[in-house]
């Protein structure tokens, strides 16, 4: 059973989003996703300042045996990337909702409306169970 955290919003591509400050959301992949991928060895993130679009690829995550796209759950601009993943990509496996966060994005439109398009924890739990 993978963990689904209560106060986050979820995309169908198994990313989570959490409002952190102002119009900024923090984004990572879910516990379920890191389980499926197995040992993560490299996270390719977008550059700070890059524009990203909800549902579109903004990077990739490599595990030993597979590679998968990293989709942005919201539309906006990247304001921070988790630089510690360069040396310790395993943080995504170990702590996907904490130290394994991937990027922060300043949402372009209305924050509540953008997050409202994503799933609640309950809905997401139904998908992964």
């Amino acid at each position: 059973m993978s963990e689904v955290k209560e106060n986050l919003r979820y995309s169908e591509e198994h990313e989570w989003a959490e409002a952190v400050e102002g119009k900024t959301v923090r984004v990572g992949i879910t516990d379920h996703a890191q389980c499926l991928l197995g040992d993560i060895v490299f996270v390719e993130t977008p550059e700070v300042g890059a524009g990203v679009y909800a549902g579109e690829s903004m990077g990739s995550i490599e595990s030993i045996k597979t590679v998968s796209e990293l989709y942005s759950p919201v539309t906006g601009k990247v304001t921070r990337v988790n630089a510690s993943l360069v040396d310790r990509p395993e943080q995504v496996n170990r702590d996907p909702y904490g130290e394994g966060w991937i990027v922060e994005i300043e949402v372009e439109g209305d924050l509540e409306a953008e997050l409202g398009k994503l799933m609640t924890a309950d809905r997401y739990r139904q998908i992964v169970d």
């Binding site: 390719e44 595990s63 030993i64 590679v67």
Partner: protein, 451 residues
């Protein structure tokens, strides 16, 4: 046919096996092939020969070729007649190496994996680059892959290539550029090396890479220290194709600012073999590590903490990325890479320098002797390693000259007029450590006599 030395099936085995399967005959196992597409005749292909007859037949074919053992070879143009230390063939004849598949099961493939790791180390050491892969088909396809990598890394669609790069490598680059939608711009030469003024004009902000070869196809050494700033000023990548043996003496591409260094390892203990198999090498600077095509071996530890080797960074590769892959290569030239490694182990630090120096001395001696032949000149002034161009007297038929040289026991040079119309009557000659003074003198005498 009934019995064959490679087929252990006996009549009794066959009967028992068919019974286990539950069919009456082998033919029933093919019942799913529609009759309309079954082949009913006997294939019109070459007939069967017993072992003795086959040896005789192939010996006959081989004997109709003029080989480097019976002829003194002055032909290079990317493939050279260097000495092959006898040790190399002994090592690659170990069937644990040559009958193995790609090392997908690392626990029983540590020998191959360590050998490739050492090959990568050798290539990094020679080229001064940070990362090398397990090898490519050959130097020419490696150059085309370098262009593809540069395009992906810079997100630009234009590559600039010097006309002093091997014509066949440029042809392959053109073919592969068509597939990838790249534009290829050629820059001409001046005095046997890339024309720097024209190169500066050709590089723009949409240029993914500049591809140069040194020693170039004419044997001339390019002035990389002058080329590098022209390339990097536009944030393009510098791709250098190099002769690995020359790196015994010449500055390493990594020290000269190359982003990608490629080349063919044929000079390192690999027979010319009508052009293949040889072995391409491919090395990059650290930022390009995760974009390098092909296989890579990495060091790690096993469950007991013991050092071991595995294929790594596999998420780059075609079997995982499928249509998102940036290269479709799925093999390397492992056995040829092993040849190169054994060669470098044999030569060692001192031997590589010494063999390179012999090449310089013998080729410069030969060039000097040829320049003294009336009507023969050295048209280019650029420094060279073991290969150089001579211009023959006007009206010389190079094909006829080479035919006469062959009669006298020499394999003559490459007729540059075939790939460079402006160089009609120019011949490219290679002189390796294998050529003795007597052979060089004889070649010069014979050439003079034939003119």
């Amino acid at each position: 046919m009934s019995k064959h030395r490679y087929l252990p099936m006996t009549e009794q085995d066959e009967a028992e096996m068919l019974k286990t399967i539950g069919v009456g005959s082998v033919q029933e196992l093919f019942a799913d092939i529609p009759p309309s597409i079954r082949y009913s005749g006997v294939l019109p292909i070459s007939g069967r020969l017993d072992e003795s007859a086959l040896l005789k037949h192939l010996r006959g074919l081989a004997d109709r070729n003029a080989d480097f053992e019976r002829h003194a070879c002055f032909l290079g143009a990317g493939l050279y007649d260097h000495h092959l230390p006898v040790v190399v063939n002994h090592v690659i004849s170990r069937s644990e190496f040559y009958t193995a598949y790609t090392p997908y099961q690392p626990e029983i493939s540590q020998g191959e994996l360590q050998a490739i790791f050492e090959f990568q180390s050798y290539i990094c050491e020679l080229t001064g680059m940070k990362v090398a892969n397990a090898s490519m088909y050959d130097g020419a396809t490696a150059l085309a892959e370098a262009a593809a990598l540069a395009s992906g890394a810079t997100k630009r669609k234009r590559v600039v290539v010097s006309r002093a790069v091997h014509p066949e490598a440029r042809e392959i680059l053109m073919t592969s550029a068509r597939g990838l939608g790249l534009q290829v711009v050629e820059v001409g030469c001046r005095d046997g090396v890339t024309d720097l003024a024209r190169l500066a004009e050709a590089v723009d902000d949409d240029t993914a890479a500049v591809l140069v070869q040194t020693p170039n196809f004419f044997g001339g050494l390019e002035d990389i220290r002058a080329i590098e700033p022209l390339v990097h000023a536009r944030q393009s990548l510098l791709v250098m194709s190099v002769n690995p043996m020359s790196l015994g003496l010449l500055e390493a591409p990594g020290e000269l600012g190359a982003d990608i260094a490629v080349g063919d390892a044929q000079p390192l203990g690999i027979p010319a073999s009508l052009g293949g198999p040889t072995c391409g090498f491919f090395a990059v600077s650290e930022p390009l590590m995760r974009r390098i095509p092909g296989r890579i071996v990495g060091q790690t530890t096993d469950r007991d903490g013991k050092r071991g080797f595995v294929l790594t960074l596999q998420a780059r590769e075609q079997h995982i990325r499928r249509e998102k892959a940036t290269s479709n290569i799925c093999s390397n030239q492992a056995l040829m890479a092993l040849s190169a490694s054994v060669y470098l182990s044999v030569m060692g630090k001192a031997g590589l320098i010494e063999v390179a120096r012999l090449n310089v001395r013998k080729s410069h001696y030969a060039a000097g002797r040829l320049a003294s032949v009336p009507g023969v000149t050295l048209p280019f002034g650029a420094p060279f390693f073991n290969e150089f161009v001579v211009k023959l007297p006007a009206g010389t038929d190079v094909t006829a000259l080479n035919a006469k040289l062959l009669q006298a026991g020499f394999i003559g040079g490459y007729d540059l007029g075939s790939a460079y119309p402006e160089l009609e009557g120019h011949v490219l000659l290679a002189v390796t450590e294998r050529r003795t003074k007597d052979e060089i003198d004889g070649f010069v005498r014979e050439t003079e006599a034939c003119l």
